[in-house]
Structures are given as structure tokens and as C-alpha cells.
Symmetry: C2
Subunit: 75 residues, 2 copies
Amino acid sequence: MAEVTFEIVKHIKILSESKKGWKKELNLVSWNNNEPKYDIREWSQDHTKMSKGITITPEELKILKDILNEIEIKL
Amino acid sequence: MAEVTFEIVKHIKILSESKKGWKKELNLVSWNNNEPKYDIREWSQDHTKMSKGITITPEELKILKDILNEIEIKL
């Protein structure tokens, strides 16, 4: 499997922290030295390990923001 | 590998559609007959295939909503 390189260009927000200390975060991440993308996934404390997650474009993030402002998020 | 069952309980929003017709969606999904969770991932047109994605709790979604209202999303 090809090696994936990444750089967390900007830590934007921690969404939660698990008992094991992993954090679900919204960041700007550059994958394989490409243009940084918004990214939501979980990271180990030293940010060397990561879970499955998603990259999300600015356009998608805008639509997500708008819908989150419309719906009632039941806590 | 254990078989994963899922049910899209509620389609909330399509965030984007790829050239291949796959859609990135925010949905409420019940995995293995568990309590439905908010979920962001890509789906094939007939929703039988899916990409890697994330489940996200209401608390996380609230924090995400708040930060998206704070930051400037550069399109």
C-alpha cells in the first residue's frame, strides 16, 4: 500500500475526546503534500495515528453549516 | 469480517454529488440495529454501497455547528 503523508496545517476545533484520549477534530490537513482540505476524524494524542474520516470541501462545509443551522440537533 | 447491517433512518442533506453519481450526505443511520446516529459519508446512487465516513454524536454536531458559525469558510 502506497505510503500516505499528511500535515495538520491548522487545528480548528476538538469535537470530542474519547476515554482512550483520542480526539475527534476538525482540522485543515494536507494529504501527500496536496492543497490542505477540511478534515474530520479522530486522532491519537500525539497525532501519529488516525481513524477513518472524511475530507470535506469548503462548498460542502458551507452546505453542512447551513443545514445544521436549520435542523434541531436533539442532545 | 462480521457483516454490518445499516438503515438510513432519515436523509437529512446532500452535501455534494460526484461525477460518478455518488453523493456525500448527512443522514441519520442505524448501524446493526443500534440507536440511529448522525453520519456523514458518500453513498452510491442506490445507497447499497458506501465510502469511509464518520458517525457523529449530537454533542459533537453542536460543537461543529458552533465552530462553523465562527470561522470564515473560504470558498
